[in-house]
C-alpha cells in the first residue's frame, strides 16, 4: 500500500518515520505537551518559585489559606506553601512512577516473552509469577525495608537510599500482570505465519523475538505501562503511609493527597491539586502510549 510513496520519498530512518506518525496523533502530542509541562513544573519550578523560609510561629499565622497571589495553591495546616510542596513532591512522584514502571515493564516483558516463547521455561517462570502474585505485599515490603534500608541509606544517604529502595520494591512487586499478558500474546504470536516463516528459515530465537515478537506485544505492554505509572505513584503513597517510604518531611503527590484527605471538606484544594497532578500524569502517559503504539505499528504507520 505504501510502495509507490516509498519509492519516491527519500528512505527515511525508522526513528523519523515513527516520529512523523507520532506527530500526527493529536492526543499523543497533547500528552507529550502536558507531560513536558509537568516535568518543567517540577524541575524548573522550584528554581523560580522559592517561598520565603518562615519561622514556625509566622508560618502558622498563614495556615490553611486558600489559593491567592502569594500562595497560588494555598497553604497547609502548618502554613507551608502548597505550590512549593507540589513541585518538590512532583519531582519524587514522577521519578518513582516512571522508574518503577520501567523496572516492572522490563521484568514483566522479559519473563513473559521467555515463558511464552520457550516452552521449557514456561512452567517454571509462570509458577514463579504465581508465587509473586500470591506473596502478601506488605510483609514482603517490610522485610525488604528491614534488610536493606539502613544498608542502602548508609551508602547513598537517606533520600537517595529511600528512592532506590522504593522503586525497586514497587518494581519487583508489580511485574506479574505484565508478564502474564505478554506471555499470552507471545503464545498466540508464536503460531502466526510470519513467525513460523522466520523460524523455518533458521532465524535465531533472539532475532525472532526482537524482530517479530517484541514489536507486536507493544500494545498490551503500553496499557500495562500506563496503569503501572499510576499504580507506582499510588503505591508509593501507601508505602509512605506505612512509614516505609521517604522521610516524613519529603512530600510526594500521593502523600499530599493522603494528608489532604482529612481536610477535604474544609479545604478541597488540598486534595484537588495533587489529585489533578496524578490524573494529568496518567492521562498524558496514556495518550503518549496510544500514539506510540500507533506509530510503532507498521500497518498504521504511513497510512
Amino acid at each position: 500500500m505504501t510502495d509507490t510513496n516509498a519509492a519516491i520519498a527519500p528512505p527515511e530512518t525508522f526513528r523519523a518515520a515513527v516520529w512523523a506518525q507520532f506527530r500526527k496523533h493529536k492526543g499523543a502530542m497533547f500528552g507529550l505537551v502536558v507531560l513536558t509541562l509537568l516535568v518543567v513544573f517540577v524541575v524548573i519550578g522550584p528554581m523560580l518559585w522559592v517561598p520565603e523560609k518562615l519561622k514556625v510561629v509566622e508560618a502558622l499565622k498563614s495556615k490553611n489559606l486558600g489559593p491567592s497571589l502569594k500562595f497560588p495553591m494555598g497553604t497547609d495546616q502548618l502554613g507551608r506553601d502548597q505550590l512549593a510542596r507540589m513541585m518538590a513532591a512532583g519531582k519524587v512522584s514522577l521519578a518513582v512512577g516512571f522508574v518503577a514502571m520501567m523496572i516492572a515493564i522490563f521484568l514483566g516483558t522479559f519473563v513473559g516473552v521467555l515463558a511464552g516463547y520457550f516452552k521449557r521455561l514456561d512452567g517454571i517462570l509462570m509458577r514463579l509469577t504465581d508465587m509473586f502474585l500470591a506473596l502478601p505485599l506488605i510483609p514482603l515490603l517490610l522485610v525488604m525495608v528491614m534488610l536493606f534500608r539502613d544498608k542502602i541509606a548508609r551508602v547513598l544517604g537517606p533520600e537517595m537510599g529511600a528512592f532506590i529502595l522504593i522503586v525497586f520494591a514497587i518494581g519487583v512487586t508489580s511485574w506479574m500482570h505484565a508478564a502474564r499478558i505478554v506471555r499470552g500474546e507471545v503464545l498466540a504470536l508464536k503460531e502466526r505465519e510470519y513467525v513460523l516463516a522466520s523460524r523455518s528459515i533458521g532465524a535465531s530465537p533472539r532475532r525472532v523475538i526482537l524482530r517479530h515478537i517484541l514489536p507486536n506485544v507493544v500494545s498490551p505492554v503500553m496499557v500495562a505501562a500506563t496503569l503501572g505509572v499510576a499504580e507506582a505513584i499510588i503505591t508509593e503513597s501507601v508505602l509512605s503511609f506505612l512509614g516505609l517510604g521517604f522521610p516524613p518531611d519529603f512530600p510526594t503527590w500521593g502523600r499530599l493527597l493522603y494528608e489532604g484527605l482529612e481536610y477535604m471538606q474544609l479545604y478541597p484544594e488540598r486534595v484537588i491539586f495533587p489529585g489533578l497532578a496524578i490524573s494529568l500524569t496518567v492521562l498524558s502517559v496514556n495518550y503518549i502510549g496510544d500514539g506510540l503504539r500507533d506509530a510503532l505499528d507498521p500497518r498504521i504507520r504511513g497510512r
Binding site: V56, V57, A59, N64, M146, L242, P248, E262, Y263, L266
Partner: protein, 567 residues
C-alpha cells in the same frame, strides 16, 4: 468554646437522668462505634483497650474507678480501707465482701470461689495472662465464706486496689472457665467470645474484629437498668470516619477514641448531631533522649547500649536547649486542640502525684542558643549547624507513622534548626515500632536514633510501677532481648534509691511527695524525658444519648448501665 457549652449541655442532661428512665430495656437500641473492633472479650487474653472496654460491659470486678479516679464499689459491698478495717494496718491483707444475692447472667449465684478461680486463671504459668501485673505480689487468696475474699500480700502493698479492681481485672465465672486454665486458655474460644458476666449486658453474637451484639442482662443487680434493651458495637474505619458517623450522619450514638485534628473537631461538631467529650488521664506525648550512642558505626550489640555514652546528648545543656526550643502550646493547637494541653511532667495526674513543674511551658529560643554556646557548640563554618571538635550537632528523630506525629516532627525540626541543630526525620510503621521484635532495628526499645517520640501512660491511678521503669536494671540491651522499659538508658543510683523508698511508703501524702520528686528528676532536673503534650481522650456522643460520663481512669463504657435515650 463550642465544646465547652456542649459539655455543659451534657452535664445538664445528667440532672434529668433519673426521671428519664425507670424500666430495664425501655429505651430500645443503642449503637456504639469502636473503630478498632474488639477481637476477643476476655481481658485476660488481650490487653488491647478495645477488648478490655467492650468486655467491661459484660464482666465486672469487685470495684472500679470513677471519672475522678476514686475507687468505687461494683460487686463489692463497699471499698475496704485501713480506716474501715478492710485493710490490715501492716498493709499485707485486704478483705472484700461481695454484695449478697448477686447472680451471673445465667442465673447462678456469684461467690468468692469465682474470684479465687479468676486469680488462679490469671496466675497460671502457661496461660500467658495479659493482666498478670494486676495480681503481682499476692501470696494467697482465702475464701472463708461465699461472700468474703481475703487477699494476702507477700510484702506490704501501699496500693492494694489492683486485683479485681477496674476493667482490666474482672471476675470470671469459675463454672464457665473451669476447663480453660493454662495452655487450654486459647482453645476456649466460645468462652472467650461469650463470657458469662455480671455486667449490664450479655453477648448474643460476636464476630471477630467486626461486631458485637448484646442484650440487657436479665439478672443485672439493679432491676431498673440498663435502660437499653440491646446494644451493637461495630468496628472498622478510622477515627475520622467514626467521628463523622456520630457527629455528621448520626448513624451511631457513641464513638470511642475519635482523635481528629482541631479543625475537623470544630467542623464536625458544627453539624449539631452530637458532641465531642474529652477527659484527661495520664497519657503524655514525649520526646525521649537517648543517653547512649546510636551510631551505625558501632558494632551490632553495642549500638545504643550503655557501653557508649551519647556523644552530645549526655550533656544536660544540649538536652535542655532542645527542650527550650519547643513551644508546647503550638503543638497542642496543631495536633490536639481541646483534647490536649501542654505539660512538662511525665506524671501529669492524679493531682496528688503531679508536680508543679511548669518551667518548660515558655519557649526560649535565645536561651537555648546561649546554652548551646556555653556548652561549646558554635557554628564555626557558618552553615547554620553548630559543631564542636569536628562533630556536627545533628540528630536523628524517629517516631511512629501518624499524621499528628509527622506534623510535630516537621515543626520541631524547624525550631531545632533555629537554634542550629540539624534534624533528620524518620517514621516507622506502628506495628514494627511498638512490636519489640528483637530482630528489627526499628523498634522503640532498640532506639537506633538520637531522640524518639511516642506516648505512654500508666494503668490505674498509682504511678509507682510507671516510675520504676527508669531503674538502672531495666535498660534494654542485647542481653535481655531489648525488653527493658528504661528506654532512655537513664541510670542514677539516687533515683533507684528513691523508687525503693516509694515502694515502702504507705502514707499517701508522702507517696505523692516522692513521686513528684522522681518525676522532676526525669524531667526538669535532667531533661531525659521531654514531656510535650498531656493527651486527653476524645470520644463522640450523640445528642440523643444521655448519661455518658467520660472516664479516663477505667473503661470508657464504665457506666453504660446508666446510659439512656434523651427524648
Amino acid at each position: 468554646m463550642k465544646l465547652r457549652t456542649a459539655l455543659m449541655g451534657a452535664v445538664a442532661s445528667l440532672a434529668f437522668a433519673p426521671a428519664a428512665f425507670a424500666e430495664r430495656g425501655a429505651d430500645g437500641h443503642v449503637s456504639v462505634l469502636y473503630w478498632q473492633a474488639p477481637s476477643i472479650l476476655n481481658p485476660y487474653l488481650s490487653s488491647g483497650t478495645k477488648d478490655v472496654e467492650t468486655a467491661s460491659l459484660i464482666l465486672e470486678g469487685l470495684a472500679g474507678f470513677n471519672e475522678k479516679g476514686e475507687v468505687i464499689a461494683r460487686l463489692a459491698e463497699d471499698v475496704p480501707t485501713v480506716e474501715n478495717g478492710g485493710i490490715t494496718a501492716d498493709l499485707t491483707q485486704i478483705t472484700w465482701k461481695l454484695k449478697p444475692g448477686l447472680l451471673w447472667s445465667d442465673g447462678s449465684p456469684v461467690t468468692s470461689a469465682d474470684a479465687k478461680f479468676t486469680y488462679e486463671y490469671c496466675t497460671h504459668p502457661e496461660g500467658g495472662c495479659a493482666q498478670a501485673a494486676r495480681y503481682e505480689g499476692i501470696s494467697s487468696i482465702e475464701t472463708p465464706d461465699d461472700l468474703t475474699i481475703v487477699i494476702n500480700f507477700a510484702a506490704p502493698k501501699p496500693n492494694p486496689y489492683t486485683a479485681f479492681v477496674g476493667g482490666t481485672s474482672p471476675i470470671l465465672q469459675a463454672a464457665q472457665f473451669a476447663n480453660c486454665l493454662g495452655a487450654a486458655a486459647s482453645s476456649c474460644s466460645d468462652q472467650n467470645f461469650m463470657p458469662i458476666g455480671t455486667g449490664p449486658f450479655m453477648v448474643t453474637d460476636f464476630k471477630v474484629n467486626d461486631v458485637v451484639e448484646l442484650v440487657a442482662n436479665p439478672n443485672y443487680r439493679d432491676p431498673a437498668k440498663p435502660a437499653f434493651a440491646t446494644m451493637t458495637i461495630k468496628g472498622g474505619g478510622d477515627a475520622g470516619a467514626a467521628a463523622r458517623a456520630v457527629l455528621e450522619t448520626g448513624e451511631f450514638d457513641y464513638a470511642w477514641n475519635t482523635q481528629i485534628n482541631p479543625e475537623q473537631q470544630a467542623q464536625m461538631s458544627a453539624a449539631g448531631k452530637g458532641v465531642l467529650l474529652n477527659g484527661f488521664g495520664t497519657l503524655v506525648e514525649r520526646i525521649e533522649m537517648n543517653m547512649t550512642d546510636p551510631s551505625p558505626d558501632l558494632a551490632e550489640g553495642e549500638r545504643s547500649t550503655t557501653k557508649h555514652p551519647h556523644p552530645f546528648l549526655s550533656d544536660i545543656r544540649v538536652r535542655k536547649a532542645l527542650s527550650m526550643a519547643i513551644d508546647r502550646q503550638i503543638l497542642v493547637d496543631i495536633g490536639y486542640g481541646s483534647a490536649g494541653r501542654p505539660t512538662c511532667n511525665l506524671v501529669p495526674a492524679p493531682e496528688m502525684f503531679a508536680s508543679d513543674n511548669t518551667d518548660c511551658l515558655t519557649q526560649d529560643i535565645e536561651g537555648a542558643k546561649a546554652l548551646l554556646e556555653e556548652a561549646g557548640w558554635t557554628d564555626t563554618d557558618g552553615d547554620g549547624v553548630r559543631d564542636k571538635d569536628g562533630m556536627k550537632l545533628r540528630v536523628l528523630y524517629q517516631t511512629s507513622t501518624n499524621p499528628v506525629r509527622q506534623d510535630f516532627q516537621a515543626v520541631i525540626k524547624d525550631w531545632w534548626a533555629e537554634i542550629g541543630v540539624e534534624t533528620e526525620l524518620k517514621n516507622i510503621d506502628a506495628s514494627v515500632y511498638f512490636g519489640g521484635d528483637a530482630g528489627s532495628p526499628d523498634t522503640f526499645q532498640k532506639f537506633y536514633a538520637d531522640v524518639e517520640m511516642y506516648a505512654n501512660n500508666f494503668d490505674g491511678t498509682d504511678p509507682e510501677p510507671y516510675l520504676a521503669q527508669y531503674l538502672c536494671n531495666k535498660i534494654p540491651g542485647p542481653d535481655n532481648q531489648w525488653q527493658g522499659e528504661n528506654i532512655n538508658r537513664f541510670c542514677d543510683p539516687a533515683y533507684d534509691a528513691l523508687v525503693d523508698e516509694l515502694s515502702k511508703t504507705a502514707d499517701m501524702a508522702k507517696r505523692g511527695e516522692i513521686a513528684k520528686k522522681l518525676n522532676d528528676m526525669l524531667t526538669k532536673d535532667s531533661y531525659v524525658v521531654v514531656a510535650l503534650v498531656d493527651r486527653g481522650r476524645l470520644s463522640a456522643a450523640s445528642n440523643t444519648l444521655g448519661g455518658v460520663v467520660l472516664n479516663t481512669w477505667d473503661t470508657e463504657l464504665w457506666n453504660a448501665q446508666d446510659w439512656f435515650r434523651l427524648k
